[in-house]
Amino acid sequence: MKDTVLEVKDIKKEFVVSRFGRKKKIYALNGVSFDLKKGEVLGIVGESGCGKTTLGRVISKIYEPTSGECILNVEGKEIDIAKLDEKKFRSYRKYIQMIFQDPFASLNPRLTIYTTLYDVLKAHGIGNKDYRNELIEKTIKEVGLENYHLFRYPHEFSGGQRQRISIARALILNPDIIIADEPVSALDVSIQSQIINLMLDIREKFGVSYIFISHDISVVRYISDKVMVMYLGFAVEKAPVDVLFDRPLHPYTKALLSAILTPDPKKERTRKKMILQGDVPDPSKIPMGCVFADRCPIKKDICEKVKPEEREIEKDHFVSCHFA
């Protein structure tokens, strides 16, 4: 399709960890597929250990995938970046940029903001000195900061301002895709909404697509066009955002939505809640059947033996459950 910027097909990632000399495989991603259109926001939700961060890092090539395809569609060309080596990928890195959770750890404390941004342009060989300076001044205004901020160091900024700088660092390369991994989780609520509003403004202005990874489902609902729910390295449900919230099909999605606390005491205390038992299983032992079987309230025998296939229930609404 023409307006698809990224198509991920059956991506898998295994880590080998060694503990007291014993090697053990962790199955972080077990075949995840999705596509992302121009200007679209894909929200990825799930609890800790579900593979959402690994997925973001595989797409931005911080990790090499074990198998699968990751087709980037830029400048009228289709490239499978999963197969490129580090050196060849470098020229495509400007199309996929990343924002991290911790704005304290993701900026170099010894560089001024100007140097941080200048180095990005230099590394990608963009423009000459004058052009770079012009671009830096333009970008810093775009994220709501001023020129005088450029010659300060990261420690002089608050968390929200640092996250603005992270956004500027991603935006300055004019990327097609920005992967935001829990970009507001470390921020206070009053600052969170500033950053979310900024990200939406940037999408409107530049048509950039986001992959927005978060455990906060109300934020994901607010910012996303479509949502993918992950559990133990599998995408258990995918749907346009309104469909997912109106008609969730997978029992895990239902439980996840039920766990959102409404900031309204009357509604919060009267709504029906679905409380899940147990915890997320160990990712080194992927069950033979459905991954959610041991916590599922509607489990039947088949769930423990046969892995459910992904089915399209209605247009663009995919679910992996025998009984959805």
Binding site: N197, F245, T262, P265
Partner: protein, 336 residues
């Protein structure tokens, strides 16, 4: 008599850079079997307030003035040894990160038993039985097995259950929970909140819950106190405060959370600027630099605390002071 009465509490931290007024003139009361939520952003003083109740403020922090009356006894005046009689028996606390508050090198069962042997006159067998009983009470599936496990063998949710068992085993009158669900996943958060509610009701414990999450407040609180920069800016019954928030900070805080019915493509309400540093807090109302409805007086004088209507909805904001009522009307007319 109220179970707990905090009066004009001031806690300052004397650092090299200057004095941080972390808690500055905070007062509230807590009745028996009531849940009070202290809510606010990082650095607002909510945790310091809780730590002063249980006597855990250490250098360079100091309780400068004020009273903390627990069943009539002023905890501020007690010696360390006298405070020990309350801590862990009458008043218990659970923390945000259960991994760092459990001893990693001791089995969880031993850690619970140790507490019982320290505070109560029980035999080892009695203590063990009681520990297992409480592990069952906090709905740990395999209570006997868990008794012999080390903290690292448990998941985050299970560790927090162990912490809750430990805090409640002495049947305290007051439980202080500092962000008990913040480090947990959402489905586990719901389990823990339900558990705290059940146990509170069955044991008759009062709870002070500290959180930054308005959703948690809505789920659990009877009363809520909103803190900003070391002060309580608004407090009252939870239904009243959520339905009729008055302080511009509370309004902004509630508006900045995306709700399930927030229309798409609208923008969230955001509060401009940042939380002020408490070494040199703004003059007058501490919120005035970020406030959208600021009056001239707000920059000069601290707002008085007043009660709205005949409920116990209290607020510290010039907008609701009688003297400046006229100013509000004009302000609103221009605003709309």
């Amino acid at each position: 008599m109220a179970l707990l009465e905090v009066k004009n509490l001031r806690v300052y931290f004397h650092t090299r850079e200057g004095t941080v007024k972390a808690v500055d003139d905070v007062s509230f009361t807590l009745e028996k079997n009531e849940t009070l939520c202290l809510v606010g952003e990082s650095g607002c003083g909510k945790s310091v307030t809780a730590l002063s109740i249980i006597g855990l403020i250490s250098n360079p922090g100091k309780i400068e003035s004020g009273q903390i009356l627990f069943e009539g006894v002023d905890l501020v005046k007690l010696k360390k040894s006298e405070l020990r009689k309350f801590r862990g028996t009458e008043i218990s606390m659970i923390f945000q990160e259960p991994m760092t508050s459990l001893n990693p090198s001791l089995k969880v069962g031993f850690q619970i038993v140790e507490l019982l042997l320290e505070h109560f006159n029980v035999s080892k067998t009695e203590a063990k039985n009681l520990a297992v009983e409480f592990l069952k009470k906090v709905k740990i599936p395999d209570a006997v097995g868990t008794y012999d496990k080390y903290p690292h063998q448990l998941s985050g949710g299970m560790r927090q259950r162990v912490m809750i068992a430990m805090a409640l085993i002495s049947k305290p009158s007051l439980l202080i929970a500092d962000e008990p669900t913040t480090a947990l996943d959402v489905t586990i958060q719901l389990q823990i909140l339900e558990l705290i509610r059940d146990l509170k009701n069955s044991l008759g414990t009062s709870v002070i819950l500290i959180t930054h999450d308005m959703g948690v407040v809505a789920n659990l609180a009877d009363k809520v106190a909103v803190m900003y920069a070391g002060k309580i800016v608004e407090s009252g019954e939870v239904f009243e405060v959520f339905e009729n928030p008055l302080h511009p900070y509370t309004v902004g805080l509630l508006g900045s959370i995306p709700k399930l019915d927030t229309p798409k493509n609208s923008r969230l309400i955001s509060i401009p600027g940042n939380v002020p540093r408490l070494i040199n807090p703004p003059k007058g109302c501490r919120f005035h630099e970020r406030c959208s409805r600021k009056l001239e007086i707000c920059e000069i004088a601290e707002p008085p605390e007043m009660t709205i209507g005949n409920s116990n909805h209290r607020i510290a904001c010039w907008l609701y002071s009688d003297e400046f009522q006229g100013a509000v009307d004009t302000d609103e007319r221009y605003g709309s």
